[in-house]
Structure formats: structure tokens, C-alpha cells
Amino acid sequence: MGKGILILVVGLSALISLLIVNLNADTNSSLDTTIDMYKATQARLISNSGVEVYLEKMRRDKTLHGNFPNNVLLSGKYDLSISGPDTNLVIISVADFNNKMHTSIVNAKREPIKMPGVNSALYISSNTISLHLNGNVDINGNDHKISGGAGTHSPLPGIGVDDVTDSAYVINNIKSKISNAIQGYGGAPSVYTVPDTIDWLGLSEEFIFSADTVLTTGTYSSGSVFGTTLDPIITYCNGDVDFTDATGAGIMVINGNVNLSGNFDYYGIVIVYGQSSIRCQTIGNNGIYGGTILVGDSVSVESQGNAKFYYSWEAVNLCQLNLKSSRFKILSWLE
């Protein structure tokens, strides 16, 4: 009798277990369906995020190319490859999330840098201008080659300002020796009102976004190189800076005051801007070949020594051809 009951109990238990396992099988399958969808979505998100992550890296490193495997993200991983020229970049991201794969293929192009039109060798845009030009300052709107010779492009004003009051102020407040040194369109003193509708603050922000080098307040002396004519760069100076014997090429955006001394040479465009007042001081044998733009509510220019502000179409064109922006246009995105 005891044996019979045992068999009955074991049999019943087996039967009930079978029923429970059967019922659970559907629950598990249902859960699998949901999890599978989650995995697929997660793999897609990782793959797309991988592209976004590397677009951000490419913004900072303008020569970034190659294969970058095993990047961990969101509990999954992705392999990424970047190939092609800046005009047709191909970014392929293959994500793996718990063995669920997803591939995103993105075609993009790096947008060209938006260059401002240079309208004079030295352009001053301000409500209050203060000039203290001494020594052998040389402001020349005639076209100059980078090598130093005369260029072939049309001359621009030596100094460009926003309105006739400013041009009258400049002409009336410089010594006759300096007046003769402001060469360019129309002859000395070449000081003219120039049409200007550029949003310099907005444009500066664009350059800052694409900056290759960011400098903080400080003195940058001999040996400091901020681009060359073969490899110009965008330099952003956030604060007051002193350059002594430094060199550079490209576009330099200075948000603050600037002191140039020693033998500072720059080829390209220098934009000095500030929300309120800015001061541009030059001492020594400095040369800016390209265009210099000073924008602020109050602008003060002080020079001693042999400061040169030369217009150079070649230097400006060099920037146009070689500088890379940090903005991308997405041509297509397969996900």
C-alpha cells in the first residue's frame, strides 16, 4: 500500500511538473521575442552612436582615418572604419550587442571653411577707435606675395573702417610720417569706409568650433609655431595673449587683447574681437601678411617699431585652400 502511494505521488508530481514546464515554455518564448527586439534596437543604437562618437573625434582630429575595433558602448561594442577623402568620407560601424549585429554605413563630407572677405589690410570695426601709431609702422593694402614681392591682385584700402567719421578720425589723428606709410587703394593715406555686413562674432564662433589649437591667456615666445604656409591651422586664443618671436599661418582668432613683440610673423587672417574693449599692441618687427580684423565696442591700436600689416591675396587664398572645417555634411546614412 505504502509503495502504491509513493508511485502515485511521484507520478502526480511528474505530471504537474510537465504541465508547468510546458506553460513556462511559452512565457520564455514570449520573453525571448521581446528581448530579441530590444537587442536589435540596442545594436542599432550602438552602431549609430559609434558613428556619432567618431564624427566628434574627426571634428577634433582632422586627419583621423583607419580601423578602430572593439569600442565598448552601452554594454555592447562596435568596430568602426573611416576611409575616403574629405569630400567623400565613408564611415562604417558594425555593432554587436549580445550577438545581435547591426551595421551602419555613413557617407559624409567635410564642409569647406567659410572664409571672410578681406576688405583692407587692417580693418577696424568699433564705436570708439583709439590709434597710437609710432615708429615705422607699415600698413599696406597693395597685394603682397607671401615671399614678400608684389602680388598681382587689385589693391585694397590700407585701413578700412565702418563710416566716414571713423576714417576722418584716423586721418586726423596720425602723424604725417605714418600717414604716408598707409598705402593701398587710392594712395596714401589709404583710409576708406569699406562695406561690411559680416557677423564677425558669429564667424569667429565658426572658426572657434573648427579650431586646431586653443591657447589660453599667456605669453607664447620663440619656438611657438601656429601653422606654416604649407600646413596652415586655425588657432583660437581665449584670453589676453602675448606673442614674442612666434610664427604662424592660417586663421588666428583672439578673444581678448594681444601684444605682438620681437619678430612675430603671421600669414593669413588675424581676427581680434571682444564684447567690449580690445587692445592691439605691437612692438618690434612684427608682420601680418593677409588681413587683420579688429572688432569690438572700443578698439585701441598701439604700435612701435617696425610693425607691418600687409594685404596678401596669396596668404588668404592659402587658408581657403588648405584649412579644414569641423563641420560635416551627411550625404547618406544607412542604418
Binding site: L12, L23, T27, S29
Partner: protein
């Protein structure tokens, strides 16, 4: 006498246990059937969502013009290189009639047609009973202009193919897709 009483008692207990097992089995079968139907419902909804999701995300891929050419509640046509083979495809999705899905017990289900370059694929109904496509602009407001579409909201209603307890349980799936190429 005691033996007879033992036998009677054992038969009674045995009978009750047997009845319980039969009941449990019937309940289990019913539950299993409902669970199976529910699982298939969920799997069908997921399959439909995956198909739509996969294709709608490719709207405008490698196409330079306005990719969406038809934007109705139950029909969408668009251009895109959906198989990434370098040639442009024209894809149309539309919901068929109830009559076209007459082979299933469910009287409400319909076939979702997928036409790629004039090649129509109907496939099984998968219990789809309703499809609603909404076209949203960058502010996620409904727009009537194809060139201002940024998002497509797809809503699907899916029922079981066979009745469960005399009814057709349904599920609702909603997804808002942001095709990156439009």
C-alpha cells in the same frame, strides 16, 4: 469488512485525484492554447514592426530629391536604395482589403503589401487588422508636405489569427521613425 471500507475509501480518493488531474489537464490545455496564441500575436506584431522599421529607416537613402512620393494613412511610397546595391528602388506599402485575407479564420485581418519596383509581395497577414501612418515635421506636428517630413509614426493593430475563447485578442504597436536621409 475493513478491507471493503479501505477499498471504497481508496476508490473515492483515487477518483477525486483523477478528477483533479483531468481538470488540471483541461485548464492547462486551455491556458497553453491562449499562451500560444498570445505568443504568436506578439511574434507577428514584432515581425511586422521589424519589416516596417527596417524599410522606413531607409527612406531617401542615396536619393537627392523629395523621397516620399505618396503619404496616406494606409499607404506610403518612397524612393531609397533599400538593399544598398547602388540602384534606386521605389517602395510602396499599402494595406489590402479584408477579403484578400479570407483564408484565415479572423474576419478582420488584412495583408500588408510591399511593392518594390513594381514587384508586389503580399505574404501572410500575420493578423494585421489596421495600419495608421502619420507624417510629422521637425516639431513633431502632423504635416501635409512631403518635403517637411522628419518623422513617420507607424501604428499597427494585430489580432490573433484564430479565436481564443470566442474572441480575437489584439495588440497595438506604435513606433516613431526618424529616417536619417530625408
Amino acid at each position: 469488512m475493513n478491507v471493503v471500507l479501505d477499498l471504497l475509501g481508496a476508490s473515492l480518493v483515487g477518483g477525486i485525484v483523477l478528477l483533479l488531474i483531468v481538470n488540471l489537464n483541461a485548464y492547462s490545455t486551455e491556458t497553453k492554447y491562449a499562451a500560444d496564441a498570445d505568443l504568436r500575436l506578439q511574434q507577428n506584431a514584432k515581425t511586422l514592426a521589424e519589416i516596417l522599421n527596417d524599410d522606413l529607416r531607409k527612406i531617401g537613402y542615396r536619393y537627392s530629391g523629395t523621397a516620399i512620393t505618396q503619404m496616406l494613412e494606409k499607404r506610403i511610397s518612397f524612393y531609397g536604395d533599400i538593399n544598398n546595391d547602388g540602384s534606386m528602388d521605389q517602395v510602396t506599402y499599402f494595406l489590402g482589403s479584408k477579403e484578400a485575407a479570407g483564408s484565415t479564420p479572423n474576419p478582420n485581418d488584412r495583408v500588408l503589401y510591399r511593392v518594390v519596383n513594381n514587384d508586389t509581395i503580399g505574404g501572410p497577414t500575420l493578423g494585421l487588422t489596421e495600419l495608421k501612418l502619420s507624417y510629422l515635421n521637425s516639431n513633431e506636428q502632423v504635416t501635409a508636405y512631403a518635403d517637411s517630413i522628419c518623422y513617420i509614426k507607424a501604428e499597427i493593430w494585430v489580432e490573433t489569427l484564430e479565436p481564443v475563447g470566442g474572441e480575437y485578442p489584439f495588440t497595438y504597436w506604435e513606433m516613431t521613425i526618424n529616417p536619417r536621409n530625408i
